[in-house]
Point group: C5
Chain length 254, copies 5
Amino acid sequence: MHLERIDPDGRGRFAFLAYDQGLEHGPEDFRGNPEALSPRFVLDLAHAHGYTAVVLQQGPALATRDLHPDVLRLIKLNGKAGIAKGDPYSPLLCPVEYAVKALRAVAVGYTLYPGSEHEGRMFAEFAEVVRQAQAFGVPAVAWVYPRGKAVQNDTAPEVVAYAARIAYELGADIAKVKWSGTLDSFRWVCESAADTKVVLSGGVLTEDPREFLDVVDKVMKAGGAGVAVGRNVWQRPRADAAAISREIIARVRA
Amino acid sequence: MHLERIDPDGRGRFAFLAYDQGLEHGPEDFRGNPEALSPRFVLDLAHAHGYTAVVLQQGPALATRDLHPDVLRLIKLNGKAGIAKGDPYSPLLCPVEYAVKALRAVAVGYTLYPGSEHEGRMFAEFAEVVRQAQAFGVPAVAWVYPRGKAVQNDTAPEVVAYAARIAYELGADIAKVKWSGTLDSFRWVCESAADTKVVLSGGVLTEDPREFLDVVDKVMKAGGAGVAVGRNVWQRPRADAAAISREIIARVRA
Amino acid sequence: MHLERIDPDGRGRFAFLAYDQGLEHGPEDFRGNPEALSPRFVLDLAHAHGYTAVVLQQGPALATRDLHPDVLRLIKLNGKAGIAKGDPYSPLLCPVEYAVKALRAVAVGYTLYPGSEHEGRMFAEFAEVVRQAQAFGVPAVAWVYPRGKAVQNDTAPEVVAYAARIAYELGADIAKVKWSGTLDSFRWVCESAADTKVVLSGGVLTEDPREFLDVVDKVMKAGGAGVAVGRNVWQRPRADAAAISREIIARVRA
Amino acid sequence: MHLERIDPDGRGRFAFLAYDQGLEHGPEDFRGNPEALSPRFVLDLAHAHGYTAVVLQQGPALATRDLHPDVLRLIKLNGKAGIAKGDPYSPLLCPVEYAVKALRAVAVGYTLYPGSEHEGRMFAEFAEVVRQAQAFGVPAVAWVYPRGKAVQNDTAPEVVAYAARIAYELGADIAKVKWSGTLDSFRWVCESAADTKVVLSGGVLTEDPREFLDVVDKVMKAGGAGVAVGRNVWQRPRADAAAISREIIARVRA
Amino acid sequence: MHLERIDPDGRGRFAFLAYDQGLEHGPEDFRGNPEALSPRFVLDLAHAHGYTAVVLQQGPALATRDLHPDVLRLIKLNGKAGIAKGDPYSPLLCPVEYAVKALRAVAVGYTLYPGSEHEGRMFAEFAEVVRQAQAFGVPAVAWVYPRGKAVQNDTAPEVVAYAARIAYELGADIAKVKWSGTLDSFRWVCESAADTKVVLSGGVLTEDPREFLDVVDKVMKAGGAGVAVGRNVWQRPRADAAAISREIIARVRA
């Protein structure tokens, strides 16, 4: 029921425009297209092309509170900078209540790093986020990236499938995971998530847009519910970003 | 008194169908029988064969809230992924109140890892779970698996007996422990638990069902109160799972 | 004033029957006298011989709530398993209020490990236990066992005396400490405790009861307030346990 | 809106007089000009020259509560001594409510050390400070200094730009960052901060005031919003401190 | 204003009789004068000689609650045993409210160890103690002892001056610091404390009382506000303790 706001046609297809990389990676991500330094760039794109929602941290959400009221917002509740090495901990930065009431969130997101020595704090925080999200009637989206000494390859099919399953076990409505490399393995990923929808984590810019769109096609064929894409959109100049947005959304909504 | 809901005939015999391995081990556990990727598989089995309760984490419990209202649910309150090595910490993911009120729990479970350097946090959380369970009138089940540098062999009789005793000292109604290897040693395990009931932790799939059923027989003869079985049931195809379910339940209820 | 319940004649003499070893040491402690696996054994002894109180963790206290209502109960509020090595942390497992209201505690106990790297958490928890105990009108008993890299010998007189003093500085009504080896040194221990009463920690079973009783004599002559004895009683068969109980209590009440 | 109190003319230009070095560096910072040991020195300067606000920790703010009521105060909410090496953690020492209600804060400040292994606690605390500051109608200023093993050079342009961006992502109204070395690189820093204003962290005393003033000029040309200066003012004798104050403020307000 | 109770004549001179060494050092400190094992010894001295207040932990304060109602009490709020090596953490053991309401505190004390890896927890706790003390109208006294790997010599003038400054920055009314070795350096210590009063930490027993009294003289000449003395008083027999008390108080009140 609480997916309604972000899934008005009930088809369970989602195209999120992710814009939390300023915190996770730093402004170097915007070097090639400095216009994207401002969230206005992604809000404009979402307004024009009908993305399901834009993903924002508390800061950009506050700064653009009155902009594009038609664009839905998924507030990313936790985060960390990409500077420190070692087992990651990404703490809750924004409570669900504040996201919903002050930042107009219609969905909330939280990154889990299973395998990190700090896994426990994140699992417990996210499980509570799920309950809060239930209470406020918004879906909870889990970014799930296994990490730590025991994870050699975080895009290995069994690792990505485990990521998707963890999201399900904790109660996520949607899991955002990496591409596992093949259509067949991604089908297993989607099946592993059971009732939880799976969306592709867009990842780094691919030189040739068709390369990325090909992956989107496979995700959808494998049973995926869509994408959460960022750099593959806003690292391109405005016209190219518009073009690939149309292609992505067409594929997700096909 | 609070055992009534899961022990209607007052005989103190329990056959739990455990389904928290998706979080603890990952979807590889379902590889051999992909139908079990969905909790519907185990709910169907429980419905058909009269398991005491199905063991679920918050996520699957939420997703199947309206399914098989006749099947009782033991909500597993804590959990962790099976990725990180080192001393385990399994944090409380779901409070007793939410389990009872939102997830229809008639019993709650919590895993303790005595010997882990994080033992203290789990002991304290579980002791509070016991008090909450008392307040909400549901039994508290302790999974107890000694771990850490000092534990060479976690199925050694004195280790399993200590596990059972810890459950008793903290106030568990039921302790779930590993097979200690022999009927005699398991009798000592059961005696060590004093007023706490002891159920067998089913463990890995045994090729030949009779091998597992033989252990169940010994558990019951040693004074055990039943089993909490998972992989030995749902890693088999539907017909075989049904067959072994009948055998297990017959032995527990004998 | 709040000692009244456990010291009706106002003489300040105490004989506690300790039964928290199932958690601290495991069921191996009961191997020689399996009857003692059940707390009924110690409750019977306390009923028959007039021990000041029986020392129980939350679990056995819950399980025997309606047994021997005449036997007073000291609820042990913290505890840990004896598996992990390294600096000990024994967390609060049961709040004072629950001990008093739900478990019929007339006294509460807490183990401190000064010198452990986790000392601070235990000192802070116990200082709060003291205030809660004041509020609920029950005495607070501190088990004090110095530990950690800096402690070579935890029965050295200056170590035991420091243990007793710490109990006093934090506000314990009674300190339970180890035998410091001689009557003279134990007199210093008792003096170091100032207004806090000192009771002997019984320790391991002595083959010959007279050996233990001789220590009890010295403790009382040194100014001690009694004993908290466990294994030296309930590791003996029922008749012998009764016999030594009579001897111990005679000495303490002399 | 909540910038009004410290930005009455709405031009978004700020000259903070920082005086939290007594905690961060110790009194050696005042050795050359002992008059500055008392906050009266900086309050007098702020009164005479029209600094936007004086930056004070709780202690000096309490001690000078009734002094110069016309001088605005930015209360620094966290802090640490400069003694310990290793990854820094600067805990919240003063809640926003107390700063505003008891210490007359019209703005609040908090230091972030991205890259420190304690980053998460500071990010979470600051994100809450931002929400509290919103609730009390005062701006939140983030001091941002990347640290830790992965930070070779904390004034490298990409490091300073990341610092500014972090302030934005968490919701700071103003970011205080180090000089990145050149006008061009500082322009990128200011652009990276998007809607967050950037002020220069004054740093160590420059022998020749013109050297510092030249940096201030470049900061303003690069799109900076001003400075937060301390040692370059109050490490000079009263007359020189007055002279450089006039120059700084002229440049910021130009 | 809240110094009134302990500074009735408004001269800002203080002579505290410290008696928290039983916890910090253990009963060995009382070996030479066993009469001092009981706080009655120091309460008698304070009663006879007019010390500003006696410094007590929660335990001795509880035990002597009804003794010498004329003697003022500074309750020491945190503490630790002197057993463990490594970076010290001294946790809050007693809240300000309990100290004031239950233990008749007219002042409260807290030890800070700047430079310890646990510095942050102590800074945060003490900053809160300052605010609580404000609310209850009692002065907050900071014991400040820099520690940790970076501190070679904790009586070096710049280290002691930094200690005094930290007390000021966090809002202490009075700082208790070690002797920095010379009158001149201690003057810098006192100046570094700005509005915070500085009292000498008495330290170990000096064989010849004149040696200690000479330091007291220098402290007062350097601008100090008095002393907090313990071992130099109560490690002497009653008559000598009385004699040196008269000398100390005469110097402080001169």
